[in-house]
């Protein structure tokens, strides 16, 4: 078996009681103290995530904007330096290559942050379409990415820097930010994958360990905890943030997944997948992603069939017992005619057929 990749923070996991798993070829903590505990710590105080497995590409050169406009569904005209954008990369048939965040670093320079499991696929896809005068580099190994999330995230992080973090608005970022006790400067963005306020921070890998430890020390009084992938998943799920491989895949379009806001068919440049995505936007997709809440006892899980009168009309993309709501809820991709709120559907939970109803999402929205 191939050796699992490790982030620079791997040596610290054990100290915090981590259970380490294989996640797309990476040895990463699925939990430290426990998924529920970590989930609540992030919702109520602050959590620190090592997300260095995420892929980072730099795209630069005069033609980089045009190139990215042709591959990404969102509109780069809405970007400016120090602004970030959630966007999607599609195949010609509208299926999803990946969802990602793009950061405009300079006039002709962008940072693309992609899902770890898709890093090689995305890089090859971009390479195949890239004109010669665009420079594309995979810099995944050069960065440590940390996410500090939760109502106390800003307070804790502010202790370590003179840069006014409050001035960084949602989906904006600052570059070359200095933190005390940390050698390298960091890019600090007010973005996240939890439904809470917070930041995602990119720093040179050599300074990652010092930075991780500084944040954990600075956050002690506010009960900061390191958070594993398990809680990262329940947090993003409650906030209705898509996970590639579940809500999105090469067989699911962003329109079906309810991500039309990031598909700008009205932008000035045509992009891969536009025809079908525009059609789905106009006519409405044949299937839609909706929330369900179990009426009968049982927990919906990824892949479980959704039935109407014994006929399969969809499947569960993600589901669990929501730690915040304490309810068994799921996201399902379902034929559009059954997507109306209040519709009663049947979820095939292994051998049992259990009733659920269509509900609105997100399951959790912060005040």
């Amino acid at each position: 078996m191939e050796e699992l990749k490790r982030t620079p923070l791997y040596p610290t996991y054990q100290k915090w009681g981590a259970k380490v798993i294989d996640f797309g070829g990476w040895a990463l903590p699925v939990q430290f103290t426990g998924i529920k505990q970590e989930h609540h710590a992030t919702r109520n105080a602050v959590g620190l995530f090592d997300v260095s497995h995420m892929g980072e590409f730099i795209v630069e050169g005069k033609a980089s904007k045009l190139f990215l406009q042709q591959l990404l569904t969102n509109d780069l005209d809405k970007l400016e330096v120090n602004k970030a954008q959630y966007t999607i990369m599609c195949y010609p048939d509208g299926g999803t290559v990946d969802d990602l965040i793009i950061y405009q670093l300079a006039e002709e320079k962008y940072l693309l942050v992609v899902n770890a499991v898709n890093t090689d696929k995305d890089f090859n896809w971009l390479m195949e379409h890239k004109p010669n005068d665009v420079i594309l580099t995979n810099q995944t190994d050069k960065f440590v990415q940390l996410a500090i999330q939760g109502p106390k995230a800003e307070k804790v992080l502010q202790k370590l820097t003179d840069t006014n973090l409050h001035a960084i608005k949602f989906f904006r970022f600052a570059q070359e930010v200095s933190f005390s006790g940390v050698k390298a400067k960091a890019l600090v963005a007010r973005t996240g994958y939890t439904g809470e306020d917070g930041f995602e921070i990119y720093i040179d890998a050599t300074s990652g360990l010092a930075f991780w430890q500084s944040i954990l020390t600075a956050g002690q009084a506010d009960k900061i905890e390191p958070i594993g992938l398990g809680a990262r998943d329940t947090l993003r799920f409650e906030a209705n943030l898509a996970l590639y491989g579940q809500e999105l895949s090469d067989e699911i379009t962003p329109i079906e997944a309810g991500l039309g806001f990031a598909v700008r068919t009205d932008k000035s440049i045509d992009f891969i997948g536009k025809d079908i995505l525009e059609k789905q936007k106009k006519e409405g997709p044949k299937r839609k992603l909706v929330g369900i809440e179990m009426i009968e006892k049982g927990i919906p899980r990824h892949g479980y069939p959704v039935l109407i009168e014994d006929e399969q009309v969809g499947f569960v993309t993600s589901g669990t017992q929501s730690p915040t709501l304490n309810k068994n809820v799921g996201l399902v991709l379902i034929d559009a005619e059954y997507s109306k709120e209040g519709t009663i559907v049947t979820i095939k939970v292994r051998k049992k057929q259990l009733q659920a109803k269509v509900v609105s999402t997100p399951f959790y929205k912060r005040d």
């Binding site: 699925v30 939990q31 426990g34 998924i35 398990g230 998943d233 329940t234 927990i299 017992q321």
Partner: protein, 128 residues
Amino acid sequence: MNLPKDLRYSEEHEWVKVEGDKVRIGITDHAQDELGDIVFVELPEEGDQLEEDDPFGSVESVKTVSELYAPISGKVVEVNEELDDSPEFVNESPYEKAWMVVVEPSNSADIEKLMTAEQYQEMIEEDE
């Protein structure tokens, strides 16, 4: 790792406690620790017949579902209904509050085939 000496253990991480002519069954401390936060327990009904090695219920953590496999054959005579409302007992008290079923064994000699605490400990150490 808590492994009471007076219990017997199965390869599927259940414990069995002999109580007169009946046995009480649950999952081990090691199993609950591996699963993480338990949020749902599904058990058979009184009167159901368990067949050795066949699934008789499931425990679900936040992340996954795990089947429960019958360590021995027998008839279910009691079910721990409290786990319905308090699945967290499985994490907090796997050998006491989180017993799952009481069974009348079809053949009490089957119990002798189960592992002792020492044997079970060896097995999980080998797995690691």
